[in-house]
Structure formats: structure tokens, C-alpha cells
């Protein structure tokens, strides 16, 4: 389990990183916290020519709240995200990621770019209808959460693009629930729920190639309070809406049942986490 050979470029700025990726002509790979990429390399499941290490690019670890949106730099570590109070849903979700030694290195953009369907932060990005800022050879662009995740471990990023920042709108109320096999494991099923005004967004992780945004139709319009009955109906609707596959950790039927349970738990929490007016 040793990485295949590659050459190494330690980027000093976003421009430098993008230039290095462009020079690699699609055979370059960004390295941030390394908590997903290094195992992939060690298993020789990828063999990039060039590793572009962005870990030390200055100015990408900021956390700033502007107009109800948390603007986070690409290199914000899971540990920092878990420790901030500006976006409580992101903080709660980040606490569920692995262990301290993983959270100390792993980055927000790394998790989003890696696009693991069972990962917490992609589900949060989607629940909050957030977006990423991307720099590439032809300039910058913004990709909304609904467009970022294309399939399991597949994002809409080009090989030569880099996420520089993340927009995470802060919901008026939120809830997060997860079922994992062991302490710190990737979710079997996780649910992130966020309410913005009267709109509810419920996202289920672990049931499809991408974090699944539940289509709850009219049920997604709520007037502040969500009754116990409404929670049950929404949870059942979420379970109906997902289409998971059988795998090692459970059958499709089981994942559907977990979806219902986790949705209910997340929504119950959501009813208790109304944001104080700033």
C-alpha cells in the first residue's frame, strides 16, 4: 500500500495552483487535507502525474458571516467547522466526521470535492442550498449545491479547477441525524434538515450516488412550527422518495427505514433549534 510515483507542487496561491493543474493537462490532482486522497493513492486507485498541494495556500481558512450566509474558505478544517458557532448545522455535522486526527487535517472543500455520498458536509451543503466558488484556467465560477454532486465520488469540477470558497446559508432552524455502524464511521444514512423561512429542505446521505434532496412537494412548505404528525408524515415521505440499493451494511428496505427514522429525528431536532434573530 504505497502511493504510486508522482511529482509534487506546493502551491503558493490559488493562481499558482490553477496554473499547475493546467500545466498538468488533466493529470494533476489537488491535495488538501489528504484524508481521502492519500488512501486512494495508497491503494493505487488513482495515479496522477502531479500532486498540487494547496494545503498551505494562504487566506483560504477564513470563516465569515455575511447577510445570513457563512463564507468559508476551502481549507477550513473539519475541526474548525465543528468548533464555530456561526453555522450550527455545519458545526453539528462536522462533529460526526471521523475522529479528531481526521478532523484536524480534513478540509471543507476536500470533502465537497471528494463527493462521497455518505459524507456529512455534502449533505449539509445541499440542505442549505449552498454553493462553491471555483477557480479554473478560464476564470472563476460558482456552482450551486444542486449541481455540484454528479454521482458517487464525482463532482461537477473540471480536472483543472479548484474550489476556493464555500457559501453556506444559515438556516432559521436545523436538524441533523445520523446512523453509523461505529463511532466516527461514515453514515449508513444521515439526514440534514434546514428551514429557511417557510421552506424546508431535507437531504438524505447514504441512499444514492449523491446526497438526496427529498422532494416532499407541498409538505416542504411549513409555517414555522412543525407538529409531531407533520414530522411523521414528512419522514414517511422521505422514505418513499429515496431509492437506495442493497449493500454490505444493509438492504434497500433497511436504508429506507433508516431514512424515515433519521428524518424524523432531524426534524424533531429542527423544531427545537430555531435561530435567535441576530
Amino acid at each position: 500500500m504505497k502511493c504510486p510515483p508522482f511529482s509534487y507542487h506546493r502551491a503558493t496561491s490559488v493562481d499558482d495552483a490553477v496554473a499547475a493543474l493546467a500545466a498538468a493537462g488533466g493529470e494533476g490532482k489537488i491535495l488538501a487535507g489528504g484524508q481521502s486522497l492519500v488512501p486512494v493513492l495508497a491503494l493505487r486507485l488513482a495515479r496522477p502525474d502531479v500532486i498540487v498541494d494547496v494545503d498551505r495556500v494562504p487566506g483560504l481558512d477564513g470563516l465569515e458571516l455575511r447577510d445570513g450566509v457563512l463564507h468559508a474558505g476551502a481549507l477550513v478544517r473539519h475541526l474548525a467547522l465543528a468548533g464555530q458557532a456561526l453555522h450550527p448545522l455545519a458545526a453539528e455535522a462536522a462533529r460526526w466526521i471521523g475522529h479528531t486526527a481526521i478532523r484536524s487535517r480534513g478540509t471543507l472543500a476536500g470533502s465537497l470535492a471528494h463527493a462521497d455520498p455518505a459524507a456529512e458536509l455534502p449533505a449539509v451543503l445541499r440542505a442549505c442550498d449552498g454553493a462553491v466558488h471555483v477557480a479554473g484556467p478560464s476564470g472563476t465560477r460558482r456552482i450551486g449545491a444542486d449541481d455540484l454532486f454528479v454521482g458517487a465520488l464525482q463532482s461537477a469540477l473540471e480536472d483543472t479547477e479548484m474550489i476556493t470558497g464555500v457559501e453556506l446559508p444559515v438556516p432559521d432552524a436545523w436538524g441533523f441525524a445520523e446512523f453509523a455502524r461505529r463511532h466516527g464511521d461514515f453514515a449508513v444514512v444521515s439526514v440534514a434538515a434546514a428551514r429557511f423561512g417557510d421552506r424546508l429542505r431535507v437531504v438524505v446521505g447514504g441512499v444514492a450516488g449523491v446526497p438526496h434532496l427529498v422532494d416532499a412537494g407541498d409538505l416542504a412548505t411549513v409555517d414555522g412550527e412543525i407538529s409531531e404528525d407533520r414530522v411523521a408524515i414528512l419522514a414517511a415521505a422521505a422514505a418513499d422518495d429515496v431509492d437506495p440499493a442493497d449493500d454490505l451494511h444493509g438492504s434497500a428496505r433497511y436504508r429506507r427505514a433508516l431514512t424515515e427514522q433519521m428524518t424524523a429525528r432531524a426534524l424533531e431536532q429542527l423544531t427545537t433549534t430555531v435561530r435567535e434573530p441576530a
Binding site: 461505529r182 444493509g250 438492504s251 433497511y254 427514522q261
Partner: protein
């Protein structure tokens, strides 16, 4: 030890472990750490297909990779003549060959096909990637109870390598006479040892004197030496096997692997160049031995009062692609048939066991060998019987336990049980656990709501310290009943022990020092123990079957006593005192009735080595002695575990609320080490019962190839275990009974029993995962 209890015995006290100082400071000496001049590194090319003919191996590309110095395949002249052939005299056993590197055919995904030698492991892996192997696939067989399309070995067209029926009494008649008959069909999940240090070896061959040194993370260095001598055609004295600190074993390292043999053969082909192979975790999951992939079809008959009348069983054990060397494919099936009835009295028994080859990684010894599965099977019968009879499951067990009055008890498999402490263990476990309190909480939740609670029980016997009459392994070319120990008093009076033990964490360096210190009469701190090196110590079969504390401990005690006798005899002569009045304590010789020592052991030793002019007539210089010990039979160790688990029917989530284990370890040499063995083995048992599962798909690919899918329990999953003891000393010099494996035996039964108790569903297939719980509750 505190200064006040000067010269108190070391045994029975939690002295500081001798191995701790180096292991805590990063100064351990593991094979993985070894660096030698001119050393090169090996990576194996492993088969991606489960079953197929090798139609071509092209190594040219690999030889061009920078840093690669050699590539070996199964056809290489250094490798081709050698095969590992696990031998047994059992009737009907089909012997098969296992090549060090696959030859002609691959039989499981992960089998080593070629090996690349390079300057470092990175380059070796680059080389391994560049080896091109062509395969013509054959249909693989993954399941041991399915018809093969293409047999794994030509010699066994039905894949059955071994089959044997254990028979006692008349089972059919007994079943006819039973008040109730229960049937169960069970499978247990394949899993494995996964020590934190994977397998590791360094082999160095010096052509000038034809000497091979093999540093190996093995549990069985002497067996390795004997087998290597035969396979490599070297005199046994020319081979030195060294097992220094070994990062866990659990049985997985009690095997001589094809990779080990390949490494030595390659080293012999490259004299003067030490070759190092450190297995990585992916290789370990793929190709180190697995275990416990079994099926049990069971029928039991009970009398109306709960007496167990008959057990009839059909057992299939998946032995994987090769008969594990040198233990053979019999290791699991024979243990299953021999120990199935466990701690219960039974006269009418019939059990047919089979070892069936499949295209999966070979099965080998893993802590508890087969008994985690058989205890699950037997306790499932007990629980089903209790339900059918409307009896309390614990009362039903009690009704059938082998009691002290029954000892020695001849089990239906003709093994002789010398324990009888089962009820004592069960009683103490039930009391410690506070069964009444948990039953009350259980019914409170039933009426008032809350997650359902279930109580699970497992009672078991651990067969430990097997002597020649009960020796581990099926009619093999060697009998594993004895070990040796040499005790040497150095010229300065300090003691060096050359023990036949090996240690993978069991603290045997400490335990042997305690035993020798007490047998000899010196302080624990003055005893140094050398072990795991075939050039230093005389003999030890190694670590398996919870044997070393009993057998090597016995040898250490006898050798210590012997040397004590010599030292006292010399002291008596020097001091002109009657030897029967002398006593050796804390390294000083005392005369009965005198408070002050009359001579120190150091002075006695100085005379023995350096002042032959003072030696009495006929006294041979030196103070040293070697003794073998063989307990002839074995020591059965009783144990019982009981636990309360809660289940969430909506998610299948399982919570362990309390877990109590009581074992009979006989006389305890080091209480903390003993509890550590028990806790560690329960944790592995819980892992097997709830988390760990090596899953093959139909094509024979391992689906759980990394630790992201192969889940071992962490501190977050293992509960606060409560461990208690009863003590009936074993009939051996130190009175101990083995404790290495017992803990693993019950968790399958406990967890499955608790689930049935909580939710009324019988679980037939392990592991008990949340998904399984949910599926059973929501069929």
C-alpha cells in the same frame, strides 16, 4: 512490590510487566522495525481472480522498473520444487499441495503469484504493478455447502478435504424418546485475527556457512524452524528463527505461510541480501488466514424436565483454498465436532464434520478455534429447548452442566473434562450481573415503554494446555504436548531464563519471570527472560490453544526448582550446613531458625563459575538447568458470560448495557494480565458477533478489503466489561488454567440469545448487525 513485603512471592501479584518499558517508549523490537545492511524489500503480486489457470506471467516490464533487482514466480527454479503439504494420518483426509507462489493455477483472490525484490517497498510495489499475469478463469466455489463446478483441487472432486463422524450412544433412539425435539440451522460469519501488526518477515541467507536467519512475527518459531528445515532441505541447526516483539497474533501467526517460505527461498537464491516483507492491511484481509465460516444443521432432544438427551449435528467448515500449513483442514471441523457439546452432559451424540475447500483465503487457527461457532450452536439449542419446554433458559443450562461430582467427565467425543466449575462460574456471573434487577428492568420497559432489553447467556469450556494425550492438531507428524525452559543463574547471581514461549502481547516475559522467581527464590526484578529465538532457548511449540502459561509455565517452574536444588546443595556444602535446613528467598540463602542469610546466591554463583577450587568434590561447575514439561492431558477452563442488551426495533441499533464474565483461570500468576486476556478476547468475540465479517461476492472477490468495510470494534463499542473469577487450580506445577481464548467463545451466543429474549426472534445467521436485527423484526 512494596519494600515491606520483601521476598513475597511474585506470583499472584500485578508486578510491572517487563515488556512495558520498551513498548511504551517506542523502543519495541518488532520485525517490521528491523533494518539490516544491504536489505531489500519484497512485494507480492496477488491474483485478482478467485479461480483460474495461469496462462502466462511476463516479468520483463517489472525488471525494467528502477530499483527492482529480481522477480520470482512459481516456476522459478528456486521456488518450483517446493510445496507446503499439511499432513495428517486421519483416515480419508485428502492431502493437497500449496505452492509458495502459485503454479499453474490460482485458487483464491489474493493468492501470491509472483514476488518482486527492490530497494524499498515503494519500488517493489511499482515492480509488482508491472508484472503481467494472464488467467483463464474457472468458475469459483465460495460457499462450502454448495456443489462445485470446478473443484479447487483435482484430488478432491467434491471439495471435501476431510470428513469425520463423532458418535456416542444411540442418537436416534434418544431422539425418539425425547419430550421435545428442536431443530436449528445456523451459519457463522467468516472473520479473522487482524492483529495491529500484520505479518512480517526478514530472511537472510549466508552461503558461506549455509545459515538462514528468519526474523518472523510468528507465534510458533520452533515449528517454523522444523518445517523450514524440511522444505528448504537445510539442517535444522542451520536455521535460526527469531520472533522478537510481535504486534498481536491471535492464531493468525501460528501458521507457516507460503509467503514465509517464498521469502526464505528467495533469500537463499540471493545469498547475503536480507529480504524484508511486511504485509499491509489489504494483503492481510485478502490472504492471511480467515476463520469461522461454518454451517450447523442441528437437532436436539430434551426430556420434559429439561435433561438434554441427544444432539445430532451436521457441520460444514469452509477451509478455503488450502489445507492450512501445518495444521491441516481439520483444525476447525475436528474442534467443532470434539467440543460442540461443551460444558453439558450428554451420552447420545452424533456429529458429522467436514472441511470443505473453496476459492477463498485459507481458514486457520483463530482465537477460540471453531468454539465461538459451536458455543453459539449449543446455546441456541439450549435457548430453543427452553422455549419449547417453557423453562427458564438458565435453569435448563444448570440442569445439564457437568458438575464437580462428575469429574473426570468423559465427553461424548471422548475428551476428558477435568473442570466442572461451570455452575460456579454461572452462579457468580448471575450474581455479579444481578439478574433479578435486569429482569425487573426488562419487564418495566415492557409495560412502561423504552427500548426492549434482552438477556443473553453463554457457558463454555476452554480446552487449554493440551498435553500429548490431547495434543492440538489432527494426527500430524508432531505432538504439541511439551515445552522446555532453561534457568541459568549468572556468575553475579542474577537469573536469565531461556524460555520456549513466544509472546504477542500476552505478557509471557513477565509471567515466566514470576514463575521462575518464585520457584527459584529470587526477586522478580533479578530475572530476565529471553524467548522467541530458536538459537537461545531449547524448545517450545509456541502460542496456540491457550497452552503456554500451563506448559511453558510448568517447565519454567520445574527448571527453577531444579536449579534452586543445585544452588542450595552448593550453599550447603560451602557452609557445611544440612541442605534440608536451607531455604532460598530473595536471592539469599537462609538457615532454619536464623534471621540473617548465611550466604547470598551471588556468592554461591561466583563459586559455581569462577572459583572451582571451592567447589565440593564431584560438583559440576555452573548453575543451570533445563526441564521439559508435558501435562499429558489438558486443563479445561470453565467460563460463563451474561449480558443485557437493548435493541431499537426501528433502526436495529444495539446497545450493550452490561456484560459480565466469570472464568476459572485456576491459580492466577498475574491478575491484571489475566483480566487483560479475558477482556481482549471478549472484545474480539463481540467483534465477531456484531461487526466483523469477511464477505466474498459470487465471483470470489473479497468485498470487505479495507478497514472501512471490515469493522473492528473500538473503545466506542466495547462496553465496560465486568470480569470475575472462580479458582480451581489445575493439575500442573503452577496450578494455572489457560485464559487466552475463553472470552471469545460466548459473545455470539450472548448477543443472539439477548436478541431472542428481547424481541422473540431467533437469529440463525451471524453477525448480529443492526440491519440483521431490523430485518428479523420486519420480515
Amino acid at each position: 512490590m512494596t519494600p515491606t513485603d520483601e521476598h513475597a512471592p511474585a506470583s499472584g501479584t500485578p508486578v510491572r510487566r517487563k515488556e512495558d518499558a520498551r513498548l511504551l517508549t517506542g523502543r519495541g523490537r518488532f520485525v517490521s522495525d528491523l533494518a539490516l545492511p544491504r536489505m531489500r524489500h519484497v512485494a507480492f503480486v496477488r491474483s485478482p481472480v478467485a479461480h483460474g489457470r495461469i496462462t502466462g506471467v511476463d516479468t520483463a516490464g517489472a525488471l525494467e522498473v528502477e530499483g527492482v533487482s529480481a522477480v520470482f514466480t512459481g516456476e522459478h527454479p528456486a521456488i518450483a520444487p517446493v510445496a507446503l503439504r499439511a499432513q495428517s494420518g486421519l483416515p480419508g483426509y485428502v492431502e493437497t499441495d500449496q505452492p509458495p507462489l502459485a503454479r499453474g493455477k490460482v485458487r483464491f483472490a489474493g493468492e501470491a503469484v509472483a514476488a518482486v525484490v527492490a530497494d524499498d517497498r515503494y519500488l517493489a510495489e511499482d515492480g509488482a504493478e508491472a508484472v503481467v499475469v494472464d488467467y483463464e478463469p474457472l468458475t469459483p466455489t465460495v460457499c462450502a455447502w454448495a456443489e462445485p463446478e470446478h473443484p479447487v483441487h483435482e484430488e478432491a472432486p467434491d471439495n471435501v478435504l476431510l470428513s469425520r463422524t463423532f458418535r456416542a450412544g444411540d442418537v436416534d433412539a434418544a431422539l425418539d424418546g425425547a419430550a421435545v425435539v428442536v431443530d436449528r440451522e445456523l451459519t457463522t460469519n467468516r472473520h479473522g485475527g487482524n492483529p495491529i501488526e500484520c505479518r512480517a518477515g526478514v530472511a537472510r541467507y549466508e552461503a558461506a556457512d549455509r545459515k538462514l536467519t528468519f526474523w518472523s512475527g510468528t507465534q510458533v518459531p520452533w515449528i517454523v524452524r522444523t518445517q523450514l528445515a524440511e522444505l528448504l532441505d537445510l539442517p535444522e541447526g542451520n536455521i535460526r528463527v527469531i520472533a522478537p516483539d510481535v504486534g498481536g497474533g491471535f492464531g493468525v501467526k501460528a501458521v507457516l505461510y507460503p509467503e514465509d517460505v517464498a521469502l526464505c527461498l528467495m533469500a537463499m537464491a540471493m545469498p547475503g541480501t536480507p529480504l524484508k516483507w511486511v504485509e499491509d492491511r489489504v494483503e492481510h484481509l485478502l490472504a492471511a488466514t480467515h476463520a469461522r465460516d461454518h454451517r450447523y444443521v442441528l437437532r436436539a432432544g430434551f426430556a420434559a424436565d429439561g435433561e438434554l438427551l441427544a444432539v445430532k449435528a451436521d457441520v460444514w467448515c469452509n477451509t478455503g483454498a488450502y489445507s492450512v500449513y501445518p495444521w491441516t483442514a481439520g483444525i476447525e471441523p475436528l474442534m467443532a465436532g470434539g467440543l460442540l457439546t461443551g460444558p453439558y452432559k450428554l451420552t447420545d451424540y452424533e456429529c458429522t464434520v467436514r472441511g470443505v475447500a473453496t476459492n477463498t483465503s485459507p481458514s486457520g487457527p483463530y482465537r477460540g478455534v471453531a468454539r465461538p461457532s459451536t458455543v453459539f450452536a449449543m446455546e441456541a439449542l439450549m435457548d430453543s429447548g427452553a422455549r419449547a419446554l417453557g423453562l427458564d433458559p438458565i435453569a435448563l443450562r444448570r440442569r445439564n452442566l457437568i458438575l464437580p461430582a462428575d469429574i473426570p467427565y468423559k465427553m461424548p467425543s471422548r475428551l476428558v473434562d477435568d473442570s466442572g466449575a461451570y455452575e460456579a462460574c454461572l452462579d457468580k456471573a448471575v450474581a455479579t450481573f444481578d439478574l433479578d434487577r435486569w429482569r425487573a428492568e426488562q419487564s418495566r420497559r415492557r409495560t412502561e415503554g423504552g427500548r426492549p432489553i434482552g438477556i443473553g447467556v453463554g457457558v463454555y469450556n476452554e480446552l487449554t494446555g493440551l498435553g500429548r494425550a490431547a495434543s492440538a492438531g489432527p494426527r500430524m507428524a508432531f505432538r504439541t504436548g511439551h515445552d522446555a525452559c532453561t534457568v541459568r543463574i549468572n556468575p553475579d547471581g542474577a537469573v536469565t531464563v531461556f524460555s520456549g514461549v513466544t509472546s504477542q502481547g500476552q505478557g509471557l516475559e513477565t509471567t515466566m519471570a514470576q514463575v521462575v522467581a518464585d520457584a527459584l527464590g529470587v526477586d522478580y526484578g533479578d530475572v530476565e527472560v529471553r524467548y522467541g529465538d530458536t538459537d537461545e532457548s531449547l524448545w517450545g511449540f509456541g502460542a496456540f490453544s491457550s497452552r503456554q502459561a500451563v506448559i511453558s509455565g510448568g517447565a519454567a517452574h520445574l527448571a527453577g526448582e531444579h536449579v534452586r536444588g543445585r544452588a542450595l546443595a552448593l550453599a550447603a556444602a560451602l557452609k557445611e550446613a544440612p541442605v534440608e535446613d536451607l531455604d532460598l528467598r530473595g536471592g539469599e540463602v537462609y538457615m532454619a531458625g536464623q534471621e540473617k542469610p548465611i550466604i547470598s546466591l551471588a556468592e554461591v554463583a561466583r563459586v559455581a563459575y569462577l572459583q572451582s577450587d571451592r567447589l565440593p568434590e564431584g560438583f559440576e561447575p555452573g548453575l543451570e538447568g533445563t526441564k521439559f514439561y508435558d501435562p499429558i492431558r489438558g486443563a479445561f477452563a470453565a467460563g460463563a458470560q451474561i449480558a443485557a442488551l437493548e435493541f431499537d426495533p426501528a433502526t436495529g441499533e444495539i446497545g450493550i448495557l452490561d456484560w459480565v464474565c466469570v472464568e476459572d483461570a485456576g491459580r492466577i500468576v498475574h491478575p491484571v494480565i489475566v483480566d487483560g486476556q479475558i477482556a481482549g478476547s471478549i472484545a474480539q468475540g463481540i467483534g465477531g458477533a456484531m461487526y466483523e465479517h469477511l464477505v466474498y461476492d459470487e465471483d470470489g472477490n473479497l468485498s470487505t478489503g479495507t478497514l472501512l468495510d471490515y469493522l473492528m470494534p473500538t473503545a466506542g463499542e466495547i462496553p465496560e466489561l465486568r470480569i470475575g473469577h472462580v479458582s480451581t487450580p489445575g493439575k500442573n506445577p503452577t496450578g494455572v488454567r489457560g485464559v487466552g481464548e475463553g472470552g471469545t467463545l460466548a459473545p455470539n451466543a450472548v448477543v443472539a440469545g439477548a436478541l431472542a429474549d428481547a424481541l422473540g426472534v431467533e437469529v440463525d445467521d451471524l453477525p448480529v448487525t443492526p440491519a440483521r436485527v431490523w430485518e428479523l423484526v420486519n420480515p
